[in-house]
Structures are given as structure tokens and as C-alpha cells.
């Protein structure tokens, strides 16, 4: 039973396209996140979503939009893809609160050509 699953694992697409990455967690967590790991391997948070509260990282372009149909899902939509969007995107979830750990999905490697 995968705790945090995201699909697809690999995504190759052309510049200018719109794509989505899906994420689901079966841990009963009420907080979910999207991270981007760039070519320098640095993990940077993009969004956190706590029930109906969405917190957006100011550095994320508005071409990126998270959508949460329910507490167990947080999908990432990306419009007008650019070459610089190529990265590995990780979904994660956690219990609410700071003194606990996050559980990550296996990542989606996005390549924009």
C-alpha cells in the first residue's frame, strides 16, 4: 500500500503545453505539499495545502496551480510549460503541526523539450 502516490512518474512534453501531475495520500493527513527538486538537487517547497487553506510560495510562477478536490488529493497543473520547468516534482503529506515528519511520493520527473 503506497502511502503517497503520484502519477505519472515520468512526463515528457513540449514547450507551451499544459500538463497535470496527480497526487493522492491514504494516510489520513490533512496537509499536503508540492516540492520541486531542480538540477542542483535542492528541494524547494512550492505549495502547502491545509484543508481549504492554500499557501503559495511567492517565487512560484502563476502558471503553476495546485488543485485539491478533497483532503486526500492535491494535483498540480502547469500551464504554458517552459524549458526551465524541467525538474523532479515531489508531492508530500503530513499531519498538521511542526514536530512531525512529511511523507513523500516517489516523484515525477518532468522534461520539457
Amino acid at each position: 500500500d503506497t502511502a503517497v502516490s503520484q502519477t505519472p512518474k515520468y512526463l515528457v512534453t513540449q514547450m507551451g503545453n499544459d500538463k497535470s501531475i496527480k497526487c493522492e495520500q491514504n494516510l489520513g493527513h490533512d496537509t499536503m505539499y508540492w516540492y520541486k527538486q531542480d538540477s542542483k538537487k535542492f528541494l524547494k517547497i512550492m505549495f502547502s495545502y491545509n484543508n481549504k487553506e492554500l499557501i503559495i510560495n511567492e517565487t512560484v510562477p502563476n502558471r503553476f496551480s495546485p488543485k485539491s478536490p478533497d483532503k486526500a488529493h492535491l494535483n498540480l497543473h502547469i500551464n504554458s510549460l517552459e524549458l526551465g520547468d524541467s525538474a523532479v516534482y515531489f508531492c508530500a503529506s503530513s499531519l498538521r503541526g511542526s514536530n512531525t515528519e512529511a511523507f513523500f511520493g516517489q516523484g515525477t520527473r518532468l522534461t520539457v523539450v
Binding site: 503517497v4 502547502s48 515528519e101 512529511a102 511523507f103 513523500f104
Partner: protein, 114 residues
């Protein structure tokens, strides 16, 4: 401004010896620290954590030490095993922030040679 730094991009040790991974932070508001381990093509998985009220936490072969005055923490793995070969991320969080909003370091790749 990188608030969590892992200054060693890579570390190589012999099987059975101790691995010591280091992490420095600048934000004095951080009060909870975590280590995650990541294998290729997988997501990070939680390894061990420590609260700022402690200076040591041990879990089997893994021990994390926290030096608040130096704003430094380290992960000790002893004895190291080839299966420990992975990227290790240090992460830190401040009060009233959710777990996933931790600030991550940029990782140290550990290679344990048989």
C-alpha cells in the same frame, strides 16, 4: 539566503566504519530538525529527528546530535552498511509551521563501500 546548509556534497566511507553527515542552519527560530534519506528515483523518507530541547537522539544505528549554540547538527551512522548509500537531506522547521514546510539542505550523497 540558504538557511540550512550541508557543506559536504558527498561522503565516502568503508562498510563497518562510522559515517558523519553535517548540517548547519542560520535561523535561530528553528526548533525541530529532521534527517531524510533518499534513494535514486524515490522520494525522501524520514529517518530520524530531534527537538531543540534535546541534544541527542538515537535510533538503532542512527544518532543525531544537535549543538544549538553552534547552530549545527550531525547524523552519525554506525556501523555503516552498503544499503545506507543514498542522499541524506537535513531539514529544519520553526514553531507553528507544518512538517512539510521544513527548510531543506541540498543533500549529502553517502557512498558506503563494501
Amino acid at each position: 539566503d540558504q538557511q540550512v546548509k550541508q557543506n559536504s556534497p558527498s561522503l565516502s566511507v568503508q562498510e563497518g566504519r562510522i559515517s558523519i553527515l553535517n548540517c548547519d542552519y542560520t535561523n535561530s527560530m528553528f526548533d525541530y530538525f529532521l534527517w531524510y534519506k533518499k534513494y535514486p528515483a524515490e522520494g525522501p523518507t524520514f529517518l530520524i529527528s530531534i527537538s531543540s530541547i534535546k541534544d541527542k537522539n538515537e535510533d538503532g544505528r542512527f544518532t543525531v546530535f544537535l549543538n544549538k549554540s553552534a547552530k549545527h547538527l550531525s547524523l552519525h551512522i554506525v556501523p555503516s552498511q552498503p544499503g545506507d548509500s543514498a542522499v541524506y537531506f537535513c531539514a529544519a522547521s520553526a514553531p507553528k509551521t507544518n512538517a512539510g514546510k521544513s527548510t531543506f539542505g541540498d543533500g549529502t550523497t553517502l557512498t558506503v563501500k563494501p
